[in-house]
Amino acid sequence: MMDRKSDSRRRGGSRRRRVCRFCIDKNLKIDYKDPQGIRYFITERGKIVPRRISGNCAKHQRCVCLAVKRARNIALMPFTASK
């Protein structure tokens, strides 16, 4: 029973479940004024990294998303980056 369950789960590719770093470390702040801090959550092209990759929980992903968008508005972060 257990084997079958885990097999089907694995085929979906959902194995790399990561834990939200902001839930683990309550002192970590998400601040749009600190572009270095949220740089981890954008791609090279300036897109926001999806939750399935970054491993954020829904709540903190919303915070990250808001921070990135604010930072973009004040030119601390690019909307797009052409490489």
């Binding site: 257990m2 084997d3 885990s6 085929r11 604010r70 004040i74 909307f79």
Partner: protein, 214 residues
């Protein structure tokens, strides 16, 4: 200064604005005076003022690649935000501004302001030449972080396979590699083909297990 703020229900806002990079020092002072004047006129409380110095912009604004960032934090109401933004819009050298509400229901007496908190003079040395170097180092950081991503994934996948070792070990490893390669956009096609084969095997295995169970 009109009547003082009520003991509570005041809000904390912060405003960042970017000043044109070729602005003279006197004009900067005028802008700073204007902002402090608006805050005191509407009986607010200036909590913090900072000049972040000349920074490179992430994208050109009004055809400028850089600008002076000025950060102000204050207590007040929405009318004050409107008034400050209206003033910033009127000031020619201000090329961009943003206001954010930080907190509601703040007691003005609970916020202590030191004289050192309010300064419109840049604390750090301005480094217009260093801005290009900074950009390069940023790129390095990004690459490094990407590596970090992959590293994390691998270690986690390994840990999982250890815990699952009671199950079929072959299927386990193939599933791991499959998941990793799908996540890694840089994986070359040959590796993909291999993992696909493995995935097929795994599917067959799973079907076999199902049959055996039933």
């Amino acid at each position: 200064m009109a009547e003082p703020l009520p003991a509570h229900r005041s809000r904390e806002y912060e405003t960042i604005f970017i000043v044109h990079p070729e602005t003279q020092a006197e004009t900067m002072d005028q802008i700073a005076d204007r902002v402090t004047d608006v805050i005191s006129r509407l009986s607010g409380k200036l909590l913090k003022a900072e000049n972040w110095g000349k920074r490179r912009l992430a994208y050109p604004v009004k055809k400028q690649q850089s600008g002076y960032y000025i950060y102000v934090r204050y207590l007040g109401y929405s009318d004050m935000v409107h008034e400050i933004e209206r003033n910033l819009r009127m000031l020619e050298p201000v090329i961009k501004h943003i206001s954010v509400k930080i907190e509601e229901d703040v007691n003005p007496d609970s916020r202590q302001v030191a004289d050192s908190d309010i300064s419109f003079v840049p604390q750090v040395e301005e480094e217009p030449e260093a801005s290009t170097d900074e950009e390069e180092s940023d790129d390095d950081d990004e690459n490094f972080e990407d590596d970090d991503f992959n590293g994390d994934n691998e270690t986690e996948a390994d840990a999982d396979s250890n815990t699952d070792s009671s199950a079929d070990s072959n299927a386990d490893s193939s599933a791991d590699s499959n998941a990793d390669s799908s996540a890694d956009s840089n994986a070359d096609s040959s590796a993909d083909a291999n993992t696909d084969d493995n995935a097929d095997d795994e599917a067959v295995d799973g079907a076999d297990n199902k049959n055996a169970d039933e």
